[in-house]
């Protein structure tokens, strides 16, 4: 595989490919853009940032011809640009890779890549298209990632995005705008996408990257433009000259302070175990999941998209069938067959998809707020009056005036909608509150108030479970994190022991850890003893996998205090040989890094007292082969 230049050394910056000045866009009374500006240069990635509703999407849709601006000047390649349609834009070489992909789900990958061509008169050569598509995907470094004949509806979100990008390249797009491309991708998929963005940048294309995930902005962009309420408040500034705090301040117009404020919880503050799940199985996504949560605790359920977290919760909630597993509330098994059972058992659940699974659009805000308590009580009447006091208190808490209760929930921002959905469940006075991606699509200003809402709930004694793909959020919010991979719970650790890197390793799909497991088994089979893979911190070790006779005392998915093991000595003797432990065991530690030099932790081998000691170099060679194979 070709090593891609990740930093680009353009000494003299190229002439702008696209400029937009003084752009405004009105939808009726709503002014989506007031005075927006954007400059995109070849060979650069420009981050287009802003809180929700700041106009990022509107500006990218104007630049790509989806909508026409009310006012403003655009130039492309030095000439004034007027786009009347997306076809116009594509002809000029401007493509948008949108949040919701614009693919035809029933057509094949190949037909989608050349979709704009299908509209042209004349004969299509499928053989030529196939060859071209293979080339395009090879350029992206993904020649084998996509079956060209697969129907697009069968593809994952990441694969669909790849089709979108290939579609843009098929038209020789010189300018590609990515509109929140990482919103539905897992961490590894984001890495792959960044790899593609790197290649496109190296190929001299001008790229815009719309996002509100700051860590991504720092990882991939060269310049940033920040919009606030439709206005460019910071235009074409070098990313390296800004701090995270600067960007947030530009986005929200005020200093937010830290987004995450840890609760003050005494180590033993959490109460009894309220909710426990054992051996949950709901095919095909959930294979064997167990976890528990205590009163007053926020437990994070981490893992990649597709690891089966949402599906597990839906199975608990009675939205999916369960094949096996016990659910216990206060230690007593409960049989939850449908959502109403779960609601009455004292569980609240905010599913992931706000629009599809939470909002009832034709009911007013009031009815949306009261719908869960209506599902909870057993009366014949709707019973809206039952919780009048609690409703009033909650509304005051949310900052929502009572006279707006009869309007449509769709008129509110994503953040306010989410707060109302959470309030819907708080009104049922649950003991357990489960939230699936509670800050998805919520702007940064509202996020912290949602965190506060959850922390208050936990302070009041609720057991809270938060599912999130955003590891930063999990670490900032939860006290304990259960990691799920491929439908199996593989770790249950206190948040303070974890970092984003460790979580990423723990959450890696089983298919990639299986290879490591195989190597451990290999080593242990060849030399006897206990082979293990650990992550090492100052005081703790976290075991990721283990094979062979149990000698080290390490259990996968659990942490152990480092001083209880002899690992520090083994590591201090790195490069040398096996070291002897007090109990006669001998241990060798080898560090593992991947091709890019990232630390993947340590592989260790502990041998019993009388075993033959193999050559350390042999084992190192095995480990090296493992990690430097083609992925």
């Amino acid at each position: 595989m070709v090593e891609v230049q990740s930093s680009h050394d353009i000494t003299a910056r190229a002439e702008p490919l696209l400029t937009a000045r003084g752009v405004s866009k009105h939808f009726g009374k709503t002014h989506a853009l007031v005075d927006a500006a954007l400059t995109l240069r070849p060979g650069e990635v420009t981050g287009l940032l802003g809180a929700n509703g700041a106009g990022k999407s509107t500006l990218s849709r104007i630049a790509s011809g989806h909508i026409q601006p009310t006012d403003g000047e655009l130039t492309f390649d030095g000439a004034p640009l007027e786009l009347s349609s997306t076809r116009d834009a594509l002809r000029q070489g401007i493509a948008l890779v949108a949040q919701e992909t614009s693919l035809a789900p029933d057509l094949s990958v190949l037909e989608n890549v050349f979709l704009p061509d299908l509209a042209n008169p004349g004969h299509l050569s499928f053989r030529a298209m196939r060859a071209r598509a293979t080339d395009l995907l090879a350029d992206l470094g993904h020649e084998h990632a996509l079956p060209l004949d697969a129907e697009v509806r069968t593809l994952s979100a990441a694969q669909r995005q790849l089709v979108e990008i290939a579609k843009a390249l098929a038209l020789d797009a010189r300018l590609v705008i990515f509109d929140e491309p990482t919103a539905s991708l897992s961490a590894t998929e984001v890495d792959r996408l960044f790899d593609i963005v790197d290649r496109l940048r190296a190929g001299g294309r001008a790229l815009a990257f719309v996002s509100h995930r700051l860590e991504e902005v720092f990882a991939i962009t060269d310049r940033v433009t920040i919009l606030r309420e439709g206005q460019a408040v910071c235009e074409d500034v070098a990313t390296s000259s800004l701090t995270q705090g600067d960007i947030i301040q530009h986005m929200v117009g005020r200093d937010l302070g830290a987004i995450y404020t840890k609760r003050d919880v005494a180590p033993d503050a959490a109460g009894d175990t309220v909710f426990e799940v054992r051996g949950l199985k709901a095919t095909p996504w959930v294979r064997d999941m167990s976890f528990s949560v205590r009163a007053g605790e926020i437990m994070g359920l981490g893992g990649l998209v597709g690891a089966g977290r949402s599906e597990a919760m839906e199975a608990i909630w009675g939205l999916r069938g369960r094949q096996a597993g016990d659910i216990l509330i206060h230690g007593k098994p409960v049989n939850l067959r449908k959502p109403a059972d779960a609601v009455r058992a004292g569980i609240g659940f905010v599913p992931e998809d706000r629009r599809a699974q939470n909002i009832v659009p034709d009911l007013s805000v009031r009815e949306n707020l009261l719908i869960a308590q209506m599902g909870q009580h057993k009366g014949f009447l709707r019973g809206y009056g039952r919780k009048a006091e609690e409703t009033a208190a909650l509304l005051a808490d949310l900052g929502l005036p009572a006279d707006r209760l009869d309007t449509s929930l769709l008129n509110y921002s994503g953040g306010m909608q989410q707060k109302i959905i959470i309030a819907r469940w708080l009104l049922t006075a649950p003991e357990i509150l489960i939230l699936d991606e509670p800050t998805k699509g919520v702007d940064i200003g509202t996020r912290s108030s949602i965190y506060r809402l959850l922390q208050d709930a936990a302070d009041a004694g609720l057991a809270v479970i938060v599912i999130s793909s955003d590891f930063e959020e999990l670490l900032g919010l939860a006290e304990r994190i259960v990691v799920v991979s491929d439908g199996v719970t593989i770790a249950d650790l206190p948040a303070e022991l974890l970092t984003e890197e460790k979580l990423t390793l723990l959450a890696a799909p089983r298919t990639s850890t299986e290879r490591n497991q195989a190597v451990l088994s290999d080593i242990s089979a060849a030399h006897g003893g206990d082979a293990f893979w650990i992550l090492l911190d100052k005081e703790e070790t976290i075991c990721l996998a283990q094979a062979g006779e149990q000698l080290s005392g390490l259990v996968p998915g659990q942490a152990a205090a480092a001083h209880e093991t002899r690992i520090p000595q083994a590591i201090s003797a790195l490069g040398a040989d096996f070291i002897a432990e007090d109990n006669g065991h001998r241990t060798l530690m080898t560090q593992m890094t991947d091709r890019r030099g990232h630390d993947l932790g340590w592989i260790g081998l502990t041998l019993p007292e009388n075993a033959d000691v193999p050559e350390p170099a042999d084992i190192r060679a095995r480990v090296h082969n493992l990690t430097h194979l083609e992925t």
Binding site: G28, P339, R344, Q357, N358, V360, E367, T407, N411
Partner: protein
């Protein structure tokens, strides 16, 4: 995203009423009444008003069931056939058993047919359009079989007391219609079941996730619709004193039209029982007025069809304007 501006409290209610669809439909109905009373001197007589109400009973009863179904996002094409079939069942039953047993039997048959459709739709996930289309064909065919392809007369004379007894000068069937609409309105507005029906039509998945009994309330509207078709045919038999296997032909289209004129969305979640009542009255008034003016009955379809399309078009234009304003 602009949050809605808060309206001043005093005029808020009035503004809400004026903005509501039912209000506009009421204006349309009144306008129609004014036009028709100018067009025909007989239109605004007491006798004709009772005539209009009397003619509203059958379609009005069926339209209540249709409103329930359409609010969940479904459709019931079988009501006309169920009307015909339960009419035959009632007439045959009356030959061998007393009225107080025969009528509940007919209503139960209607409810049973609705239950059959509802289970196919809600449990097996079949499309409402297709299921009720099938049931419509079966129902019409069975009503020919059970009747021996002829009208059944010779019904007990006491049956007509259902229609021709009066209370405070109001005929029993009209009184029943008013009571039914009050009941349906109260149910849809103030009960858990009623709100669940709206929530199912608006977002089935969200309603289920909120712990509402979506399965039960997805089936129930079809049961109500089938049962009400049988109730409607009972009033019809009591007036005509004979059962025709072809009775209720295209009644489903009239009922759907009334519900749609009343402002319901065929996608579910939006609509009201008051709107349906106005829709029924508008349809019946047009028919009645055209009859009084001596217009050929063959033109009535054109008139009603045009009104439906114009009402929907006006609604769409108003929505566009208010979305833009």
């Amino acid at each position: 995203m602009a949050e809605p501006t808060s309206a001043a409290n005093g005029s808020a209610l009035a503004a809400k009423v004026f903005r509501s669809l039912e209000f506009r439909m009421l204006c349309l109905a009144l306008l129609l009444a004014v036009v028709l009373s100018f067009a025909s001197p007989f239109f605004l007589t007491e006798r004709n008003i009772f005539n209009i109400l009397d003619q509203s009973v059958v379609i009005g009863i069926v339209a209540v069931g249709m409103t329930f179904v359409i609010l969940t996002g479904g459709i019931d094409l079988s009501v006309g056939a169920v009307f015909g079939l339960t009419g035959i069942i009632l007439a045959q039953a009356l030959q061998i058993m007393p009225i107080p047993i025969a009528i509940p039997l007919a209503i139960l048959s209607g409810a049973g047919i609705g239950l059959f459709s509802g289970i196919l739709i809600a449990v097996f996930g079949l499309a409402p359009f297709v299921v009720t289309l099938g049931v419509m064909a079966i129902g019409r065919s069975l009503s020919f079989i059970f009747s021996g392809q002829r009208s059944i007369s010779g019904l007990p004379p006491e049956l007509d007391s259902i229609v021709y007894s009066t209370f405070l000068g109001i005929p029993a069937n009209v009184l029943f219609l008013i009571g039914l609409y009050l009941l349906a309105w109260g149910y849809l507005t103030y009960t858990k079941g009623g709100r669940t029906i709206y929530a199912i039509g608006s977002n089935h998945e969200a309603a289920r996730a909120a712990g509402l009994s979506t399965l039960f309330y997805s089936i129930m509207p079809y049961v109500v619709s089938g049962a009400l078709a049988a109730v409607a045919v009972t009033f019809s038999l009591a007036q005509i004193m004979s059962a025709d296997p072809l009775a209720g032909n295209q009644l489903e289209l009239d009922a759907i039209a009334a519900v749609v004129i009343g402002g319901a969305s065929l996608y579910g979640g939006r609509g009201s029982i008051i709107g349906t009542l106005l829709g029924v009255l508008i349809m019946v008034m047009i028919r009645n007025g055209l009859n009084l003016m001596g217009v050929s009955p063959f033109w009535q379809g054109t008139a009603i069809g045009s009104i439906i399309i114009l009402a929907l078009l006006a609604e769409r234009l108003i929505n566009w304007r208010s979305a833009r304003a």
